[in-house]
C-alpha cells in the first residue's frame, strides 16, 4: 500500500454516486467532448443537446471513468446547466461545482476542474464545428479549468513514457 489520504465526502457526493442524474451516452447529442485520461484514472465524457438559435442546453449527460467525486462532480454540473444558455453554462467554475457538492476534499478539487474542463471543451467544439463563429464572450485563451484538463492529459503522457507503454 502506498500512503493514503482520508476522503470525508459530503453526503451529496455519495447521494449522486448512488443515484447519478443524467448518466449515459446521448445518441442525438449536438456536441460531445471529453477530458482527462484513463492513465490517470480520471476521465469524463460530456454530451450536450443544444437548441439551435437560443443556444439553450435542453439536455446534457455524462459518462465517467473516475472516483466517486468525479462521478458526482460531472452529474452535479449536468444538473446545474439544465436549460441554461451556452454562455451561462460557460460561467460555472470548479468552485461552483465544489460548493454545490458540499465541498470536495482538497485533493479532489481537480475532479470539479475536470468536469468544468470537459463542459467548456464541448462548448468550444460547438462554436468551432457547428456554428463556425465565435461569440464575443468566449475567451480566446484557455481558462484555468481547461488548462487543468490539459495538464492531466500531459501527465498521462508522461506516465505512459515512464512505464514504457
Amino acid at each position: 500500500m502506498s500512503s493514503r489520504i482520508p476522503l470525508p465526502y459530503a453526503p451529496r457526493v455519495l447521494e449522486l454516486f448512488q443515484n447519478p442524474q443524467n448518466l449515459g451516452r446521448m445518441e442525438d447529442a449536438t456536441v460531445i467532448a471529453s477530458a482527462g485520461s484513463p492513465a490517470c484514472g480520471d476521465m469524463i465524457a460530456f454530451y450536450l443537446k443544444v437548441e439551435d438559435k437560443s443556444e439553450i442546453i435542453t439536455k446534457s449527460s455524462f459518462e465517467s471513468y473516475g472516483c466517486a467525486s468525479n462521478i458526482a462532480a460531472a452529474s452535479q454540473l449536468t444538473i446545474m446547466i439544465e436549460k441554461k444558455t451556452l454562455e451561462e453554462a460557460w460561467n460555472f467554475t470548479w468552485a461552483d461545482v465544489s460548493e454545490a457538492l458540499g465541498g470536495l476534499p482538497s485533493v479532489k478539487t481537480h475532479c470539479g476542474s475536470l468536469a468544468v474542463g470537459a463542459l467548456r471543451r464541448a462548448i468550444r467544439t460547438y462554436y468551432e464545428e457547428i456554428t463556425k463563429a465565435t461569440p464575443a464572450w468566449l475567451p480566446e485563451e484557455l481558462t484555468k479549468d481547461e488548462k487543468h484538463a490539459l495538464e492531466e492529459e500531459a501527465l498521462a503522457e508522461k506516465l505512459k513514457k515512464k512505464y514504457k507503454l
Binding site: M1, S2, S3, R4, I5, P8, Y9, A10, P11, V13, L14, E15, F17, Q18, P20, L23, G24, R25, S34, P38, A39, C40, G41, D42, M43, A45, E63, S64, Y65, G66, C67, A68, N70, I71, G102, G103, P105, V107, A156, L159, K160, Y163, L165
Partner: protein, 403 residues
C-alpha cells in the same frame, strides 16, 4: 470541513457486511482482548527499568512475553527488539544499521518492497548511500539474476520482503539469501516478513537471515506493537534520541497490555497455524477463481497456487476505477481496498502493480481483498454473488469511454 457523520448517515449500515481489508486494519481476537485487560487495570504496569517491586515484576513479565513472541521464529528472545509498528522496524533495520556500519555504501532493495523500506533506503542518499532497485517478473517475483549482478564489495545491505503485501507473491527468500551469503557473508540480509508472519514457516534459526520485520496486527493482535529480529552479532543503533528503557532500540516505556496482546495473538495463531492456512487458502481460491470466472475482463494480479500467500486476493476489473469500486462495494457491505491513484496521497497508481507491468488503467481497477481466519465460506459466497452487480454498475458509469 468534515462531513463524516453525515456521510455515514447517507451510507447507512448494509444488511450484510463482509470485511476483507485485514491488511489495512483489523480487530483483535476476543481472547487477545481479554488477555490485555489486566495489564491496563492492575498488573505489571510499571517501568521495567526501575528498582522496585512493580518495576521488577514488569521486567519479569516483559521477558516472559518476549519468549512467547520469539517462539514462532525459533530464535533467542534476546534477539528480538520490540517496536511500535512494522514501519518503525523497517526504518530501524535500515537506518539503524547504517549508523553502526561505516564504509560500505550500497543498499539493494526490490521495487515491490513496502514504501517504508524503499523510502528509508532512499532517505540515506544525502549521506552518500546508493540504492539499487531490483526489478520483478510479471507475477512480482524478485529477479535473482540481477541480484547476483548487483552485489559487489561496496554492498552493505540487501533488504527483500518474504511475501509481497499487495499481490501475495511468496519470494524465493532461501535462494536470495544463498546468493548474497555465497558471494560475501559480510553483507547483511534484512527481510520484511510482515505479510509472511503466520502465513509461511519463518524459522530463522536455520537460516542466515540477519534482520527480520514482523508485526502483531497481522495475526489479530493489537496495533501499535511489532518486532525486529536481530541476529546475534549484528549491531544496530537507535534511530531516536531520548528516553530508552529496557528496550534500547525503541523509545518509550514498555507497553505491557500491547505485549500481553501480541503474545496471546502469537499463541492463538501458531497453535492453529495449519488449520488457519488451510481455511484461508480454500477461501482465497474460491474467491480468486470465482471472481475471475464469473466476471468478464478480470485479471489476477500476482501468482497462482503454492507461490501465492494463503490470504491474498488481488484482481483488476478492467473498465472500473478502483475508488468508485471500493465505494460501491462498501454500499453493498463489502470492505476492501484498491491500488487506484484516486485512493492514494500522491494520486499515483500502486507502485507494485506498475512494477509487474500493469498498465495504469489496469492498476486503477485493482481490488485487494485479504482473507482472515474469521471469514466464513458463507461470506465468500455473498461476495461472489454481489461483486458481478457491483462491477456491472461501475462499468455502466464508465459507459462508452474508451480506455
Amino acid at each position: 470541513m468534515s462531513h463524516i457523520q453525515d456521510l455515514l448517515k447517507q451510507h447507512g449500515v448494509p444488511e450484510r457486511e463482509v470485511y476483507l481489508d485485514w491488511i489495512n486494519g483489523s480487530v483483535v481476537d476476543k481472547e487477545v482482548f481479554d488477555a490485555m485487560i489486566p495489564y491496563y487495570l492492575e498488573k505489571d504496569y510499571g517501568n521495567p527499568a526501575i528498582t522496585h517491586r512493580i518495576g521488577w515484576s514488569t521486567l519479569d513479565f516483559y521477558e516472559r512475553t518476549k519468549r512467547q513472541i520469539s517462539q514462532p521464529l525459533n530464535v533467542d528472545p534476546q534477539s528480538i527488539a520490540i517496536t511500535h509498528s512494522f514501519t518503525e522496524s523497517n526504518n530501524l533495520a535500515i537506518k539503524g544499521l547504517t549508523k553502526m556500519y561505516k564504509g560500505r555504501k550500497k543498499i539493494i532493495v526490490s521495487e515491490v518492497e513496502h514504501l517504508s523500506v524503499i523510502h528509508a533506503a532512499k532517505s540515506l542518499f544525502d549521506q552518500g548511500y546508493k540504492v539499487d532497485i531490483l526489478p520483478v517478473s510479471n507475477d512480482g517475483t524478485i529477479n535473482l539474476d540481477i541480484l547476483q549482478e548487483k552485489i559487489d564489495d561496496d554492498t552493505l545491505l540487501v533488504s527483500l520482503q518474504s511475501i509481497n503485501h499487495e499481490i501475495g507473491t511468496i519470494q524465493p527468500m532461501k535462494e536470495a539469501l544463498e546468493i548474497v551469503k555465497d558471494k560475501d557473508e559480510k553483507i547483511i540480509f534484512h527481510t520484511d516478513a510482515t505479510s509472511a508472519f503466520g502465513r509461511i514457516d519463518l524459522d530463522f534459526s536455520k537460516t542466515e537471515v540477519d534482520l527480520a520485520t514482523f508485526s502483531s496486527n497481522r495475526i489479530l493482535g493489537p496495533k501499535g506493537i511489532a518486532g525486529l529480529y536481530i541476529k546475534d552479532g549484528i549491531k544496530l543503533k537507535s534511530i531516536y534520541e531520548g528516553q530508552l528503557s529496557v528496550e534500547i532500540l525503541a523509545p518509550d516505556v514498555e507497553n505491557s497490555p500491547l505485549l500481553a496482546g501480541f503474545a496471546k495473538a502469537v499463541e492463538l495463531h501458531f497453535k492453529n497455524f495449519d488449520e488457519i492456512k488451510n481455511h484461508t487458502t480454500k477461501l482465497r481460491d474460491k474467491l480468486l477463481y470465482g471472481l475471475h470466472t464469473s466476471i468478464e475482463r478480470t485479471e489476477i494480479n500476482g501468482p497462482a497456487g503454492e507461490r501465492r500467500a494463503p490470504d491474498n486476493v488481488n484482481v483488476s476489473f478492467l473498465g472500473c476505477e478502483g475508488e468508485a469500486l471500493t465505494v460501491e462495494s462498501s454500499m453493498n457491505g463489502i470492505y476492501a481496498s484498491s491500488g487506484s491513484a484516486c485512493t492514494s496521497r500522491v494520486l499515483m497508481p500502486s507502485h507494485i502493480l506498475t512494477a509487474i507491468g500493469r498498465k495504469p488503467e489496469e492498476a486503477h481497477g485493482s481490488m485487494l481483498m485479504t482473507i482472515n481466519r474469521l471469514n466464513t465460506e458463507e461470506q465468500i459466497n455473498y461476495v461472489l454473488e454481489t461483486m458481478p452487480k457491483v462491477i456491472e454498475r461501475i462499468r455502466s458509469i464508465t459507459g462508452g469511454i474508451e480506455l
